[in-house]
Structures are given as C-alpha cells and as structure tokens.
C-alpha cells in the first residue's frame, strides 16, 4: 500500500515542537502535538498563540491563516494518537533516556512501516533505535532554529535505516519546504559540528578581551555576510543548549576544539541563558528583540 502523509504526531510542545507543528499545519497536514500534562498543553497553546500573533504583526501571516493553523493542531497528553499517524517526530530536549522512552511508546503504537523521526543535533540515531522492535524505520532529522524560516534540515541515516524510510523523511522535509542535506550519523552532523567551534572561538576572543562581544559579532556578521553574529545566534539558541552540545561533542570525540570555553560555563551558571532569559552576551526585551544593538549594526540600503 502506498504511504501518504496526512497526519503527523509531534512529541513535545516546546519551542521546537510548536514551530514544527506550525510548519506542518501550514502545509495542510493535521498534527497531534503531545505534551506531558494538561497544564503543559495550556502553556504551550498560549505560547503558540503569541508566536502566531507576532508573525501577524510582521505581516508574515494573516488572522485567517492563524485560525487554520490552530485548527489543524490537536493537543494531546497521550501517545495513543500515534496509532493513526503516518509519521511521528519527537521534539523534546536533547536527553538520551527521555528520547529512548518516547521512541518505545511510539514504536509500540505505530504501523510498522511508518517512519519515526528523532530530532537531534548530537545524539546517535543508531543507539537510540537499537532497542526498538523496528529500528529500521527510525531516522534522524536535525531542524535548525528558527524552524519556520530556516530552509535547511539535515536528514540523518542511522546504521539500520531503510532506503524507504529515509526516502519518506526526505519527502517530509521537501513538503515542509526545506532543503534536505543527506548526512550519515556522526556527532554534530554537519551544521552543529562546524558552527560550535566557531561560537566557542568567538567566546574565547571575548574572554581574552581581544574585542567586546558586540564588535566580535558585528565583525563576523558584516565580514562574512552572516544574518546574525555567532554570539547572538548562541543567545537566541540558548547558551545552556550550546553548552550541552559542546560537552556532548567533547565527550564523544575527545577533540579539544569542542571543549567549552569557561566564559560560556560561567554565563550558564549565572542563569544568563540568552534571549529567553533576557540576557546572555546581549540584552533582549520580552519580544526577544535585541535592545543593545550598536549604531553600525543596522540595515542600510547601500
């Protein structure tokens, strides 16, 4: 029987889960968005509502489209929704034990040839898949922030992933309007592995007092035509997550280039996690807009 994509289960209603659910719903596909409790569902719903409102203010969305998106997303607190889903995707934090447990719940309920997608930037797909009844239908996808506008996704093939499942994951990526980058399993894949040493090095430069954070960012942004500098990017991603990835890559590879800069650790210990807490390397208002941009760091026509 031919496989068609009409319903997707997304586990985890955090920022990543909500963004993905929005994107999937925008493509006309129905989504079950699974959270742990009804309190978490309520909180997630209200976060989603304000994110969509912000996009309306930026002219990226209309009120009618917002309603259509919301009507395609069904929030649930139980895994049973997976049984009539054509694809499931987890979007919880980068925690091996938690992801493995979710995979087990999904694997038990889903028809055997329906893909289960692990959304990870650093964990091993093969290892996570190993304890499932059908490890061959498990595939990795690494979505980058912000999910709604970033055009790329790394599609990760585990040791046992079948061609068919891998093809369906590519199809899913295309449907979301993303360009799939095909990668084999290796910690950090392409994007994370290359960007982390860049960020880490930028933090070292700040710690050494070579230049202050705003100018380091501006130099890289204007010099290499980045949309934002590496430090602002780290702030927006969450410094705790950046630290977590670096630690993981350092442990996996033993390479000193992934050893987290002490300044990063200090900021995380101080609770300065970036845009979400209002302060990291830079300051942000409640709408997560930078409040301390340098005069030179503004758009110009020429």
């Amino acid at each position: 029987m031919s496989w068609e994509l009409h319903r997707v289960t997304i586990v985890g209603g955090g920022m990543m889960g909500r963004s993905l659910a929005t994107k999937v719903a925008q493509e006309g596909i129905n989504v079950y968005l699974k959270e742990v409790s009804s309190e978490a569902v309520e909180a997630g719903k209200s976060e989603l509502d304000s994110a969509l409102e912000r996009e309306i203010e930026r002219f990226g969305l209309t009120k009618a489209e917002k309603r259509a998106i919301q009507s395609r997303i069904t929030w649930v607190t139980h895994f049973d929704c997976a049984s009539d889903s054509d694809l499931a995707l987890e979007a919880v934090q980068e925690d091996f034990g938690l992801k493995r447990q979710i995979l087990r719940e999904l694997d038990r309920r889903m028809p055997p040839d329906h893909p289960i997608v692990i959304n990870t930037s650093t964990l091993s797909i093969t290892e996570l898949a190993a304890q499932n009844t059908r490890p061959d239908r498990i595939v990795g996808m690494h979505f980058l922030y912000p999910v709604t506008t970033t055009r790329v996704v790394e599609v990760v093939r585990g040791q046992l992933t079948t061609d068919e499942v891998y093809g369906r994951a590519i199809e899913f990526a295309r449907l979301l309007g993303k360009v799939p980058i095909k990668v084999f399993e290796m910690p950090g894949f392409v994007t994370t592995r290359v960007v982390l040493p860049l960020i880490n090095e930028a933090i070292h430069v700040v710690m050494e007092g070579v230049a202050d954070a705003a100018e380091v960012d501006l130099a890289l942004k204007l010099g290499y035509d980045f949309k934002s500098g590496p430090l602002e990017w780290a702030d927006r991603t969450g410094l705790d997550r950046v630290l977590n990835w670096l630690q993981h890559l350092y442990q996996e590879s033993g390479e000193p280039r992934f050893r987290p800069c002490p300044l990063l650790k200090r900021l995380v210990r101080a609770g300065l996690l970036g845009a979400k807490t209002g302060r990291g390397f830079f300051s942000y208002d409640e709408g997560r807009h930078r409040t301390d941009r340098l005069p030179d760091d503004r758009p110009r026509m020429a």
Binding site: G28, N30, F59, G60, L61, T62, S71, P299
Partner: protein, 418 residues
Amino acid sequence: MKILVLNSGSSSVKFQIIETDLERMNAHQDLTLAVGLVEKIGLSDSRLVLEVPERKTFQDYREILEHRTAIEWVLRILTDREHGILSSVEEIGAVGHRVVHGGEDFASSVLITPEVVEKIEACSVLAPLHNPPNLRGYYAALAAMPDVPHLAVFDTAFHQTMPAHAFLYGIPFQLYKKHHLRKYGFHGTSHRYVTFRGCQILGWRREDTRLISVHLGNGCSLAAVDHAKSIDTSMGFTPLEGLIMGTRSGDMDPAIVPWLMAMEEMTLHQVNTMLNKHSGLYGVSGVSSDMREILAARAAGNQRADVAFRMFCYRVKKYIAAYAAAMGGVDAVFFTGGIGQKSVEVRDWALSGLEFMGVELDRERNAAATDGEAEITTDGSRVRVLVVPTNEEKTIARDVVRVLNGIMPVFTPPEVVT
C-alpha cells in the same frame, strides 16, 4: 450537453453543472443545473454545499484530505437519488477546468493533452499558488472521468492580444526573455464574458466598439477591449498590480520593497504577504477587506475607512480615463464582480468627474442597480455604462462547446518582440 465546470483552489473545489450547446449559447439559454463547492479540503470538517434551483441548499460535512476524494464526493452527491441531479456520471459529457496561468503558451482554451499538462506545469513558476491546485483538480477529475474530454480555460488567454508596448515593463529587456517577466493580466474569462454580454444587451457588435470592463470583486482589474481585443489590463505579472483590492496593494513605487526589506529587516515571505494579504482596503482602513464593512464604517464616521474607500474609487477612475485614452475614446463601460455589481457608492465615486469624456451618470438608475443587468447612465450619455453580472463558469462551459466544435477563437498576440 451537460458540462462539469471545475475551479480547484488549494483548499477548495468550486463546481457547476451547466447544460449548453451551440443552439443554447446563441440563444443565451444555457442552463445552470447545479452550483456548489467543497471547502476546507485537508481538514476534518470539510464542507460540501450544493445548490440546485428551486431546491433547498444541501450541505454535508466529512473529512476530505485531498482533491481526489473531494471530486469523488461531488460526483457521488451529484448522482445521489435524493439530492443529486444526474442519474449517472456518464451524463457528464465534458469537464472544463479553470486554469489561472497559461503564460505565453496559451492564447485560447484547449483540450488537455499530456503536452498541455506539461506546459501548464511549466507555467507554475509564474503562478505557484494557483496552477498546482488547478492541476490537482484536473488529475482528480481525470481519474474519476477518464473517458470524457477535459479542457483548460485560462485566465490569461484573453489578454494575449495586448501589444508589446502594453505588456512589457520598463526593465532590462533580457529579463523578459529570461524569466518571461511581463504583464499577463487575469480575470480574462470574466472580461470576455462581460464585454460579450454587455454588447449583446446593447445590440452592438463587439468588433465595432471600444469597451472598458471593470471587474471589482475580491480581486479587482480593468480591461480595455478595443474592437473585441484586450489591448491593456490592470493586473500584471501577478494579480498584485493595478487597482487597490481587498487585501492587495495594487500599483505602488517598486522601490518600497527593497527599502522595507532593509529597514524593517523583512524577509521575502513577509514582504510578499504584506503586499498580498495585509494591504489594500484592509491595510489602509484597519477595518476590513470587505467593501460592505468599509462603507458601514465610513458612514459611521471612520476616517481611515473613508480614505480607503476614496483611494479605491480614485484609482478605478484614473484607469477608466487612461484606457479611454489608450483606445482614443470609449463607447461603453461595464461594471461587474461583487463590488461592481452591488456597490452604488463605488460606481458613483468612480464615475463622477468623467463628464468631460461623455459619461453622464443617472443617479437614480445607479441607485436602483444593486443586482442584475442594468444601465446606469442617462439616455443622452455619450458613453453608456452598464452593470453586467459576470459568469465565468458559463464562459468556461461555452468554451468547452466551442473547442469541441472547432470554433474556439484564438487570442493571437499582434507581435512578437525578440
């Protein structure tokens, strides 16, 4: 012959069953047997509505996830013993599909063949939101009715007669050659019907006249139809150009786009949505994209609704005078579309001040014309202005008959510039 007319959008399918043939066409006696739509395709509460003359409106809800099941559902209801109007699907003799963009490849309605499908697909780059769902509707209908002819009727075809000095933009010529960047115009099926029917009412031969067709609906456009040929139209490369519309900006300084993208750090998507969905009557008034609500707010003293209304009418007036100039005069102006057919105020404002070129509005006649065909100028008016309700579906059905009988006109471009 009973003809199924389909207009497939991304989340809806509109359909009509029209009984017509050469005799009925000539006598203006085409019969619309059923009108309906399936909306919210892809959702669990998709709705089908079927209206049959002199019967109660039929409605049904179910989960419809794609066009194929939507069309199967339509055919099932059309042949339903209680609610339907057909004894079997075999009664349908042909299917006419509305296709938005035919690019420079199609200057006529055509029988759909694999080569035609290929060309329509190639035009998708010009109309990424419209042509793909039009084709999905075609594939779905073909699967359900493989043995009858399927035809494509293009919104752009009628305007292919525009001369190069009207359709080219003042940008480097190689961009036209490379990307087919030019004015195409839309609403062609409507402008064709309205000018045809308007002349029929007046007892004129369209070939002897200079006409302006003003289509004011969700989208708005005018066409200058000189001796039965479209020589200019206000929509352009996309339906964004020209008049101010419900949520579209219409004409503006193109420099605003890069300026906003730089200063507001807007993405391509955001600036595109801003111009298409957050602008026009809605964007200016902040009240609504619906002219009826704009008029109500204006009557209640809302200043921005008032200015949005005036902008809308002012631009219609400018275009009417411009197209009269383009044709060296105008014999009749036809208003159509939801706003054009119903809004007394819009017609009043758009036509007042045009006395210099021979338009004498009869305010009483205008006030009485709120639905149906009507003349709204005085008996002595040099330019005659009529309200002519559009009927794109009927034109599509008639084109099916024309193509199948080998009498479909071709709207041949007058020149090719290389």
